[in-house]
């Protein structure tokens, strides 16, 4: 018991030190950021010279009044005679900083001035937004706005390159501001803390020239695209999951709804949102850092192309935009890139056609519910309470002596079925568990209706395996406790419970609950 107390106390001390350290790191990052800003402000107020003025001493500690007024008069005059007229359109250090792109015919002086005069809004400062914003800020876009409502998590760091270990738990907007400011202090950064909503979308996007959709849900994709059409802003939209990515330049040229010469919008390409249960997040499906990085960098590239487009020689209007296309990136396919030619605006598009139903008024009134349009997945609650066991109670079955029979705990008394995909099972699993991936479970047909067929299909391996131990109860576990419930239902439909003779149920909350409530050392991923 004494050792337990020591362990508990040590754990508490470590936790307290860690949280203190965390707090200090955050304070340091903030202080560094503010210090940096103050220096910049000071430098721009006083000119580059921040050394103490030798005259200041003499003036404060007394010199002859005649001399003083004489000097002041001269100084005042010198200010008048040196008007801040600039000889060169860019500042001296800008020629140096942007020199490598300035000497390219695609950019040149005019292109750089266009970038400098432009403002871009980056919605989402994650895997796409980080590299996109870094390249835009690096290239000297005058103003860059950042929208995000999340804080930095450790699992973001492998791909979200503006955030760093010390900034875990800081808001993503704040963290990105610090990184971007140190990359290029000449760019004005505008924080927009919080998620974009239908109520805030119009006012947030209003003052920008171009928008980058770097978000991660179908609802935000439709909201941003609709808002861009209503405000007449071109939109560079990208997405990535696992090893695949997509990129489109939408609403380009950004002509009013109904004008068929305008570029198509997100709804023209994908009029229907994907079924909500099919939407996979990076947290569930996985994402390779360079895949999403590639897509974010391509967004910055397309944004620079749109912003620096030269007017056509014949008229004052911009040269015609590139025909709309959808770039598909598949990191493990050959070729890796495919360009799909898109159509112009859809004749019946709900936003950009002459028959538009999505209007500014509708958006402002809050009558457009994007979350509802895209659907939501209710938390799965497929089983009754006696088909479920808590992680703590399951631990007792595994670890404790049975209080009634006095028998030693046994892992052989039951079957523990882990339905995570094999790659996750191989990362970490509970001793003695059997892996049948959920994808295998889902694709197993329920052959009830084929029973009468003269030659019934030979039963899938995992089912016949489980039938062989007809007396052992089956506990099903997965990562979070959703797939396990669906599996239990399916196994009962397959008749594996021998019409109720055998108990089949799931471990509530999955391996996450196991880690939180039973074994703190079980890896979290």
């Amino acid at each position: 018991m004494a050792s337990e107390t020591v362990i508990r106390s040590l754990r508490q001390q470590i936790a307290s030190c860690e949280s203190q350290l965390h707090h200090l790191k955050r304070q340091l990052a903030e202080a560094e950021y503010q210090d940096q800003q103050q220096r910049t402000n000071l430098a721009s107020e006083q000119g580059v010279n921040t050394r103490p003025d030798p005259l200041a001493h003499d003036f404060s500690y007394g010199i002859h009044d005649d001399f003083k007024s004489e000097v002041l008069a001269v100084l005042a005059q010198s200010e008048k005679t040196a008007p801040p007229q600039r000889r060169w359109p860019l500042e001296a250090d800008e020629y140096k900083r942007y020199g490598r792109q300035l000497i390219m015919p695609e950019i040149g002086l005019q292109g750089q001035l266009r970038l400098k005069g432009a403002s871009v809004l980056v919605v989402g400062v994650g895997g796409l937004g980080c590299p996109a914003a870094a390249y835009l800020v690096g290239a000297g876009v005058g103003t860059v706005g950042l929208v995000d409502g999340d804080v930095v998590e450790e699992s973001n760091l492998h791909r979200q390159i503006l955030h760093s270990t010390a900034k875990v738990n800081m808001t993503k907007v704040e963290s990105a501001m610090i990184a971007l400011h140190s990359l290029n202090p000449k760019v004005e950064l505008v924080p927009h803390q919080g998620r974009l909503t239908p109520e805030t979308a119009l006012s947030t996007l209003q003052s920008y020239d171009l928008v980058l959709d770097c978000t991660d849900t179908p609802a935000s994709r439709y909201l941003i695209s609709d808002t861009c059409v209503l405000l007449g802003k071109p939109l560079v939209s990208a997405s990535a999951l696992r090893t695949d990515g997509q990129l489109m330049v939408l609403n380009n040229p950004p002509l009013p709804p109904g004008n068929t010469s305008g570029g198509p919008c997100y709804r023209c390409v994908f009029p229907k949102p994907p079924p909500p249960e099919s939407v996979v997040s990076c947290g569930d499906g996985g994402i390779l850092g360079p895949v999403v990085g590639t897509m974010g960098i391509l967004q910055a590239l397309e944004a620079i192309k749109v912003l620096t487009k030269k007017p056509s020689a014949s008229s004052n209007e911009s040269a015609p935009a590139d025909p709309p296309s959808l770039l598909i990136f598949s990191a493990y396919a050959s070729p890796m890139f495919r360009t799909i030619r898109l159509r112009s605006r859809k004749l019946k598009c709900a936003v950009c056609s002459a028959h538009a139903t999505v209007t500014r008024e509708a958006l402002n009134s809050g009558s457009l519910d994007y979350v509802q349009f895209c659907g939501t997945v209710n938390p799965i609650d497929a089983l009754t309470s006696n088909e479920r066991i808590s992680a703590e109670n399951y631990a007792k079955i595994r670890l404790d002596v049975n209080p009634f029979t006095g028998l030693e705990p046994s892992k052989d008394s039951h079957i523990l079925l882990d339905v995570r995909e094999k790659v996750q099972f191989d990362l970490c699993n509970l001793e003695g568990s059997v892996n049948v991936p959920f994808s295998t479970v889902s694709s197993t047909p329920i052959n009830g209706r084929n029973r009468t067929a003269s030659e019934p299909d030979p039963e899938v391996g995992w089912i016949s395996e489980l039938r062989q131990h007809a007396d052992k109860p089956i506990f099903v576990v997965c990562r979070l406790g959703n797939d396990s419930q669906i599996t239990v239902k399916k196994m009962k439909e397959l008749g594996l419970d021998n019409e109720g003779q055998r108990w089949i149920g799931d471990v509530r909350g999955g391996l996450r609950a196991w880690r939180n409530n039973v074994d703190k050392e079980f890896p979290e991923y």
């Binding site: 989402g124 994650g126 895997g127 796409l128 937004g129 770097c214 978000t215 991660d216 849900t217 179908p218 994709r221 990208a238 997405s239 990535a240 999951l241 696992r242 695949d244 990515g245 997509q246 390409v269 994908f270 009029p271 229907k272 949102p273 994907p274 079924p275 249960e277 099919s278 939407v279 996979v280 997040s281 990076c282 499906g285 994402i287 999403v292 897509m295 974010g296 959808l326 598909i328 598949s330 493990y332 396919a333 050959s334 070729p335 495919r338 360009t339 799909i340 030619r341 898109l342 159509r343 859809k346 019946k348 694709s443």
Partner: protein, 96 residues
């Protein structure tokens, strides 16, 4: 990984993202010709459930050009997918 050329009387079909996950393959060859309006039901026969779970929200292309087959009066329902054509099923990817 590059899809092989379709044999005589067939077209190639590429499955991206969720379509690839659902069919458990990146590409295959199907017999041609097929009218675009029949494409989804043909795939539904091969992969029961794919229509509602995946295809309903997908973009479809023939030889790298988008075709509009969304709705009963969509303009490209009559497009004929011929021998040697390359069709792609492109679900929207929304994460990032």
């Amino acid at each position: 990984m590059a899809p092989s050329k379709a044999p005589a009387g067939h077209f190639s079909i590429l499955y991206f993202a969720a379509a690839s996950t659902f069919t458990n393959r990146a590409n295959e060859h199907l017999s041609a010709p097929v009218e675009a309006r029949d494409l989804f039901s043909k795939l539904e026969e091969l992969y029961p459930g794919i229509k509602d779970k995946v295809l309903s929200s997908c973009a479809v292309t023939v030889n790298l050009s988008y075709i509009d087959i969304d709705g009963d009066d969509a303009p490209d329902l009559g497009v004929v997918i011929k021998e040697g054509d390359e069709v792609a099923i492109i679900p929207p990817v929304s994460s990032g």
